[in-house]
Amino acid sequence: MTKPKIALKDVHKSFGAKQVLRGVTLDVMPSESMVVIGGSGTGKSITIKSVLGLVKPDRGEVWVDDIRADKARGARRDALLDKFGMLFQGGALFDSLKVWENVAFRLRRRLGRDEARDLAVEKLRRVGLGPENADLYPAELSGGMQKRVGLARAIADDPEIIFFDEPTTGLDPIMSDVINDLIREVVTEMGATALTITHDMTSVRRIADKVAMLHGGVIQWTGPVDDLETCGDPYIEQFINGRADGPIEALR
């Protein structure tokens, strides 16, 4: 039986009195594109940050391959992080570096300047940005172009696992579609395992192989994207139809 690439087991996380994760259990299989959906503030970002070690879980286990990710330190943690690429919600591009330097940031550890630049330009081309953008600074780019640069940086070193944090937030519908297509293409082409968090249902249908619904600090439902409409889960039904009435309480 194939082992999960990423496994979260009963992960808990609180911030002061606020319990955000109350026992998240989730398996992401190799080369699978898992999308975690859920309302704002339900702990989607905390879930992926727990995997990356950016947030330390209070309880539970996080496994990446055969490594206990939440306990990894030093060289073991560095080796673990080398497996990951991440596209942040706001791009999180380094303002002080040029576009190509952002994309080549990790590559520079093992490649010379010229070689890293060539590879960065190639990755930029892969996400639809010409070489004329390579020497610009992030602040000179539009939001959509910044997302593309973020995507190029995430895939630059051909990671085994890619995380996408709200990849289409703040983009117009057409640019959202372009980014969704790019994500689907690069994930399929690289054979990478992808974990995306979003509340954009268009993205879910374009990107996902499997979907997990996070609500109340736990995974309420998980299953193939094709079962989303017919699963009969009241949480999923309310969420995908965007209704205010249902088990998910909405503040008015």
Partner: protein
Amino acid sequence: MAVLSAFHGFLAGIGASVIGLLRATGALTLFAAQGIMHCFLPPWYWREVLRQMMRIGYFSLPVVGLTALFTGAVLALQIYIGGSRFNAEGVVASIVAIGIVRELGPVLGGLMVAGRVSAAIAAELGTMRVTEQIDALTTLSTNPFKYLVAPRLIAGVLTLPVLVAVADIIGIMGGFLVGVNRLNFNAGTYIANTVNFLEAGDILSGLYKAAAFGFIITLMGCYHGYNSGRGAQGVGTATTNAVVSASVLILAANYILTELFFST
């Protein structure tokens, strides 16, 4: 009963403040220890160190130079006025030189750089925290302490002494200009008095202080920026705290170091 309850409340308030202070001191100490450790452990980002040396040292030169120039000029006037009360106008050159290199050069230079650099570092790192750039560094297998904190600490400790050395020269020159042009001292005598009365220990103690101030300035900028709260308000608070804490710590460290040099 109400008095007892108020007394408990009063004690609880004091206890909470003390615990908060101890927690903040502990957090700062751990941050500083981690920062220092990464200054000595590879990999080193030398390009970042050079970039920070330019920002902290070179670009602070105008403000520190002007501060030193006017401080030296005012010091010459004040010492002349004070000295003339007991016929000791001749000590202007030597006291200006000693005052500048031992005290005013490093302290005023440090305070000016604290205002300029601590704030800039805290704002930069705070913005990086808020926009998830620091998280992005981690996901790119780069330790933020190595890439952000260590280069700034190294740059601060290395550039402040150079900056203060230049400020010392400019400050003494400020005194010289006033002494010669306004107070009618002989230029040659003024220079001779400056050089003859100045000892290596005077200059070195000022430069050691500058290195310590460089560490304090960059540490406070990094600490407050790195731990910045969310949003524009968080970054603003981090910037203010960085400047205030750096300035206060510079003055406190100045006293401690002066006591130390005074005893030896």
